[in-house]
């Protein structure tokens, strides 16, 4: 029987991948993709939780998360483009405007 | 395991379903594989007809020239056996994956079209679409939205600037027109109250005045335009506009992979035509002959009735296929900014407006009929 733990472990692994991607990839686009990965792992948890609990709130949450992810991707990519226009790079090694 | 066990296993409910699925998929695949040759022939004969010339009419088996119908078969054979050239600097993996992806998505969509009403085999109800979901409608939209990957990846992986430009254009175009496409279809979901395509067909009944095209003409109008844009067909064939980009995303493709793109394009055309028929023109319904009547005419054999319906669906879809060809040889190509402006500034607002009006009308109608 596939219990919720199965899904949770899978989600954890995906989340780990996403986290590591955010932390160690220097390409902003990759960073954004890794964030999508993390969001998806959360989605998975929600859907499995929804099935476990027998109500649909989890699925609705996933719906919202997807909405937010779409927004996030749209704005994020717009910013990547703007950054690229301005600085000619999307490598975070070179984008250190917040440097103290 | 004895023979009896095998029979028992094969006649179990699950097995029947599985076997039926396999059969359905096979049928679809075979069917779809037949589309390009026919269409290639049609696309050559049709302009010839329009331009008062003959077109291919020689290839045949012996004396049976069959109006050049076998020309396509010859082309196919040639195409498949051509030498495969992979450009240097191409991203090999993606280069290979892209056409596969293309074909894959096209076939997936084709699998979700209801080709006929449900039939009963060995006491099992079997739907005539291989993928029967209660969200079939969404499934089709989702899968057709994936079609863009094939094009995009192909262009990018070819390491050719024309290809890249073509794929960029294609992806932008397809994303842009996916929205009006969805917008044009959602009113029908509202009208028919279901996402299940087969139920939509049933809801439309056999009489043309209750078909989708009558109930939502603006939707059909939008959908009709999107059909061309989604398949990168003329007048929206900017992704491969040969006068600008050589051949667009598939410039660097040849042999079987080119054939795959070819195949996927025609399958996509077919799918959209079939979808148009399904959603707007009553699908497998035989005009003026309700299914009950049809069943009676077919001696109560549901598979026979389904077959008749299937033929009518093919007929309806075929009409749209013909329109594709017709339009291709009639209209000039759009300019890119015109294309985008049309999509975002014309189609989208109209689609939204249409959606709103439809929702209102349906809501009012529901309220009125309920009381």
């Amino acid at each position: 029987m596939v219990s919720i733990n199965h899904y949770l472990v899978l989600a954890t692994f995906m989340f780990l991948c996403g986290t590591l991607g955010v932390l160690f990839r220097r390409n902003l686009l990759l960073v954004l993709m890794s964030i999508e990965l993390m969001l998806n792992s959360v989605n998975l948890v929600f859907v499995s939780g929804s099935r476990l609990l027998g109500n649909l709130d989890g699925q609705v949450m996933v719906f919202f998360i997807i909405t937010v992810a779409a927004c996030e991707a749209g704005v994020g990519l717009a910013m990547v483009i703007a950054l690229f226009r301005r600085y000619g790079t999307v490598d975070t090694n070179f984008l250190r405007i917040l440097r103290g | 395991m004895g023979l009896t066990d095998l029979v028992a296993l094969l006649s179990s409910d699950a097995a029947i379903q599985i076997i039926a699925s396999i059969v359905k998929i096979l049928i679809i695949v075979v069917l779809c594989l037949q589309i390009p040759p026919v269409m290639v022939w049609a696309e050559r004969r049709a302009p010839a007809m329009m331009q008062r010339r003959k077109g291919p009419n020689r290839v045949g088996i012996g004396k049976f020239r069959l109006y050049g119908l076998l020309q396509s078969a010859a082309d196919a054979v040639k195409l498949i056996f051509k030498e495969e050239v992979v450009p240097t600097g191409a991203n090999k993996v993606v280069y290979h994956i892209a056409p596969i992806f293309s074909v894959f998505t096209a076939f997936l969509v084709a699998c979700a079209i209801p080709y006929g009403n449900d039939i009963t085999v060995f006491g099992q109800q079997i739907s005539l679409s291989p993928i029967r979901l209660d969200v079939g409608f969404l499934f089709i939209l989702a899968m057709s939205s994936l079609a863009v990957y094939g094009v995009t990846l192909a262009g990018w992986a070819s390491n050719n600037k024309y290809s890249l430009l073509g794929s960029l254009r294609a992806s932008a175009q397809m994303i842009s027109y996916e929205i009006p496409l969805g917008m044009s279809l959602i009113p029908l979901v509202i009208i028919f109250g279901t996402l299940d395509l087969n139920k939509m067909v049933i809801a439309q009944s056999a009489f043309p005045w209750s078909w989708g095209v009558v109930r939502a003409p603006i939707s059909f109008f939008l959908f009709f335009i999107c059909m061309f844009a989604e398949t990168n067909r003329s007048p929206f064939d900017l992704a491969e506009g040969e006068s600008e980009l050589v051949a667009g995303f598939h410039t660097e493709y040849n042999s079987a992979k080119f054939a795959a793109f070819f195949l996927s394009e025609y399958v996509a055309m077919f799918v959209l035509s079939a979808l148009a028929a399904t959603v707007f023109f009553g699908g497998w319904q035989v005009p003026f002959v309700p299914y009950d009547l049809l069943l009676k005419i077919a001696f109560g054999l549901d598979w026979l009735a389904a077959l008749v319906g299937f033929l009518f669906l093919l007929l309806k879809a075929g009409f749209f296929m013909w329109v594709y060809v017709w339009v291709r040889w009639t209209l000039p190509r759009f300019r890119y900014d015109q294309l985008m402006a049309l999509g975002w500034k014309f189609m989208l607002p109209i689609g939204l407006f249409n959606l709103l009006i439809t929702a209102l009308v349906v809501a009012i109608f529901d309220t009125v009929t309920r009381h």
Partner: protein, 649 residues
Amino acid sequence: MLFWLILFFPLLGAFLNGLVLRKVSPTVSHILGTSALIAAFVCALLTYLQFLAGGGQAQVITGMEWIEAGTFKAPFNFILDRLSGLMLLIITGIGSLIHIYAGGYMHEEKATYRFFSYLNLFVFMMLLLVLGDNLLVMFIGWEGVGLCSYLLIGYWYEDDKNAAAGMKAFLVNRIGDIGFLLGIFLTFKYFHTVSFSELKQMILSAGAQLNGEQIEAIGWITLALFVGACGKSAQMPLYVWLPDAMAGPTPVSALIHAATMVTAGIYMMTRLNFLFYLAPTTQMIVASVGAVTALFAATIALVQYDIKKVLAYSTVSQLGYMVLGCGVGAYSAGVFHLFTHACFKALLFLGAGSVIVAMHHKQDMREMGGLRKYMPVTHLVMLIGVLAIIGFPGLSGFFSKDEILWRAWTGGDQYHIQWGLGALAAVCTSFYMVRLLMLTFYGKNRSDHHTQEHLHETSVVMWGPLVVLAILSAAVGYLNVPHIIHIPGLTNLLFEHYLDPVISIPPQVAEHWHHLHAEYPQSLEWAIMAVSVAGMAISSLLAISMYSNGFGRIANSLGSAFKGAHRVLTNKYYVDEFYDSYIVTPLRDMSQFLWKVVDVLIIDGIVNGVGQAFMLIGGLSSFRMSGSLHRHGMVMVVGIICMLTVLFF
């Protein structure tokens, strides 16, 4: 109804003149302002007659509620009794005369609507002051007349000096007003009412046993109120505004700074006499301040050249008499002097105004002289005024001033010094008033040729009121003839008995006062009178001899002989300079210090310093900010892991 009209007419006049009819000609505004006041006077007269016919019992006229908070109540209630009735007549009557006169005086002005509006407003405020039944309504008038005085002194505001004088008047008055306010607070704190009638009842009712705290409080209350009186009635040390206030038009000086407003302090003390009777220390202070002021101002007046300044110091001096009168418990004498003084000082000021108009707004007496032949009527009335003020026997000043001096002498042994000062001041008064008369009307004319050519008597609008006032100055004294003089057909001390219902000696001290009155023989009174008449005569003769023809030899040699004293007197004892360098300048320096150093440097410095400290800390810690997205992310992740670890294990 009639009563309300008294208040209504001046307010209406002020409103119409000030806000509505701003574009009309000066004549119209003059007629409007004057008729408003005459109407008020008529109403006041009728009301007063009605009041007297009704037996002259004090009555409280209830108006609307004004301030009500907690247990504090101050309605717009008005009191109509013999004292306020008299004041009503003085204010509206003399006010009407002065209004009439002002039309002539101000006829060269272009836009007099402002002037008459202020004047009418002043009268309204003054009426509120005298009619109010509680300290708070009185305080409205008290500050309101201050405001009008401020506005009128600064009437010619384009001269910065006038504006400054107005401001000075307002501010010095405000110092007094704070005293008044504290008096109100104390009254409310210890007696829980600010209404005169209730207060009076509370103090006088036999059953009301005041506790020690309240008795002590009365001392403070009266003292605080007296500070207010000092401000308004120009007593030491707050008199400095009055001489400066002469910057205003002369009718203003006559009405506000001689006849009415400045007497508010005396009125207030008389109104609250039952409190002052209970505060012997305050009374001592009041009497002393009055006497000292009388002499002090009189000495300054001796050497002034500006005709209005002389009159101003004279006013201060005369007010000192009235205060002295109040201080020795002779409230009726004080009020009587107030009354006579209102007549003759208004007369003198208006006369001086006529002179000034004739002299083309020159006020220096050194440029005058010999005006008798150009302005006979003015000369005549001024002569009457001077004789009245110096206490020439038979004229009003004689009766009123001598009454005060007599009561000072008899007030008790402790008041003999005050009597001495007062008598001395009387001597000075005769000297400087006669000096004024001589320098102005007698001798040769010392003005320049141009002025001389245009010298002429003023119009009837101006001298008409003067004549009326002159008659009053000569006559009103007979209202209160001392009981040693018997004039057929006149009741002695008519005025004193008239005020008897108002002057109410609390039972606690009644015995002491009755005892005092009975003690002295008639001969003493004759003697006292003789002393003052003699002093008056001698100093008048001295002045005539010194100034009969301009600044004579004697005057100059006296001046050079007592050079130091002369300089001190000319410079008014350097009081203004003293205030300026020991109060105003230090305060200004302190304010400058508070602003530039305390506020900007210290307080704001601390505020900004805190901000800058944070920025510094931020700057220091930002060394660790690599700006790298990944660093930040890593720190965050490690932090989250640590938090979760702590949370779960």
